[in-house]
């Protein structure tokens, strides 16, 4: 079990609350098809503070696997995610479109992504509050994680609007 913190970019005042009963497809979650406000039983986190900061909407939040597990939150680490996402995927990463599985795999690798799985959590609102600490208050600065790379994955230049 990793002793290193996991970071999440999210709102200034709170981390968004997952829905344990929502569709639990991992590829659907990572590919962010439904955009902001979508229902998901997972929270994306990153190993890297700077990467989480890129997705921040006001704050970067921090948690530890040990703390999460105490509250019945499961941790799906990056290595496990990568191993699940080959071909049409395995387990909860099974998906009818192999190309989308591959794209999701690329994002996991690129963003050092780990998932926190709330499917077995009864009170996700309380657990989310207990789990995450604002990095600004716990350390020095702030962060956030979301998934802009998918919407605006245009490397190189600022030309999105011309398409």
């Amino acid at each position: 079990m990793s002793k290193n913190p996991l970071y999440r970019g999210d709102g200034k005042d709170s981390v968004c609350v997952p829905n344990p009963k929502a569709d639990d497809s991992i590829v659907r979650h990572i590919m962010y098809f439904e955009g902001p406000g979508r229902e998901t039983p997972y929270l994306s986190t990153s190993e890297e503070y700077e990467l989480a900061e890129e997705f921040s909407n006001g704050s970067v939040w921090e948690t530890f696997v040990k703390i999460a597990k105490k509250e019945s939150v499961q941790h799906i680490n990056r290595t496990e995610l990568l191993s699940l996402m080959k071909g049409n995927g395995k387990g909860k990463a099974k998906w009818p479109n192999a190309f989308e599985v591959m794209q999701a795999r690329r994002y996991v690798e690129q963003w050092g992504e780990h998932l926190l799985d709330f499917r077995n959590v009864d009170d996700p609102s309380t657990v989310t509050k207990k789990n995450f600490q604002n990095h600004e208050t716990s350390f020095l600065s702030e962060l956030l994680v979301q998934r802009p790379s998918i919407w605006g994955a245009w490397f190189g230049c600022r030309l999105l609007c011309y398409a």
């Binding site: 590919m31 098809f33 439904e34 955009g35 902001p36 406000g37 990153s46 190993e47 890297e48 990467l51 890129e54 909407n57 080959k86 071909g87 049409n88 479109n97 192999a98 190309f99 989308e100 599985v101 591959m102 794209q103 690329r106 690798e109 690129q110 963003w111 050092g112 979301q146 802009p148 790379s149 998918i150 919407w151 605006g152 994955a153 245009w154 490397f155 190189g156 230049c157 600022r158 030309l159 999105l160 609007c161 011309y162 398409a163």
Partner: protein
């Protein structure tokens, strides 16, 4: 289409956005969801859906600065004075992955617009052929082409970026195949190349991808659209265009003759 510089490109979107990491049909489906969240006419923050003036610019000074970069210069001219295909041809001739990325992304939009406006799949045939010719070449991504290295080593990020660009070539070609299928053209018989690639290759190894393209993808493409057939289609397009221009000129001549004819007494 917005003609603005994005100051916060990774964090903003609008209702017209078409994802480049999805095939045509899937990108269209997701775009419908996207349109419900973001207005078409405004560029908004992805996170909160709000528009901030500081996120965009159409200031002339900013545009002039952008034009110092050859790729950006061509892209900012895109669509001006009906020069869309000329801009794409300029991008095709430029070295570097940024130019290719711009050509493929704009090319997807160009072909989609043509087809939506009752054009034929062949409106993208030149772009198809240009992409087909470079399909198996491994792109030479430079460090300066990257905005960040993410959670990976630099060399790995370059591999992931190269993979992404090669898959965008395949995605563009697949767009054309999809349009051809809708018109009953034999090119449309080819099944999803991105799917075939993802099922055949489990890693982001560029050499393996290039080998797969040479041995599997290109033979399928060339069996339906050989160079000879491409030349025929190109000539046909040229004739149609020349014919349309001649008709237009004749109509204009007729109008001006009418204008100059003396009034009947």
């Amino acid at each position: 289409m917005h003609k603005k510089i994005l100051n916060f490109p990774d964090g903003t979107a609008c209702g017209s956005h078409l994802r480049k990491d999805l095939t045509l049909g899937r990108a269209s489906e997701v775009s419908e969801i996207h349109k419900k969240k973001y207005p078409v006419e405004l560029i908004c923050r992805i996170n909160d859906g709000k528009h901030y003036d500081r996120d965009v610019s159409d200031d002339q000074k900013d545009m002039e600065l952008l034009k110092r970069d050859p790729v950006a210069d061509t892209v900012t001219d895109y669509g001006e004075l009906g020069s869309t295909i000329e801009s794409l041809a300029q991008l095709k001739a430029m070295p570097g992955v940024r130019a290719e990325l711009a050509m493929l992304s704009l090319g997807r939009g160009y072909t989609n617009n043509c087809v939506l406006n009752n054009g034929k799949w062949t409106s993208g045939v030149h772009l198809y052929w240009w992409s087909r010719r470079r399909l198996s070449h491994i792109p030479e991504v430079q460090v300066t082409d990257l905005r960040s290295v993410g959670a990976t080593q630099l060399s790995r990020q370059i591999d992931l970026t190269s993979w992404s660009l090669v898959m965008l070539r395949l995605t563009f070609i697949e767009d054309i195949i999809t349009y051809a299928r809708c018109e009953g053209d034999p090119l449309g018989k080819i099944s999803s190349l991105t799917e075939q690639a993802a099922l055949s290759l489990n890693t982001f190894n560029l050499n393996n991808l290039a080998k797969w393209i040479k041995s599997e993808a290109i033979p399928q493409l060339d069996a339906q659209l050989s160079k000879n057939r491409y030349v025929e289609l190109a000539n046909q397009l040229h004739s149609e265009r020349t014919g349309a221009e001649a008709q237009q000129n004749a109509a204009l001549d007729g109008d001006s003759a009418g204008d100059s004819s003396p009034p009947e007494s």
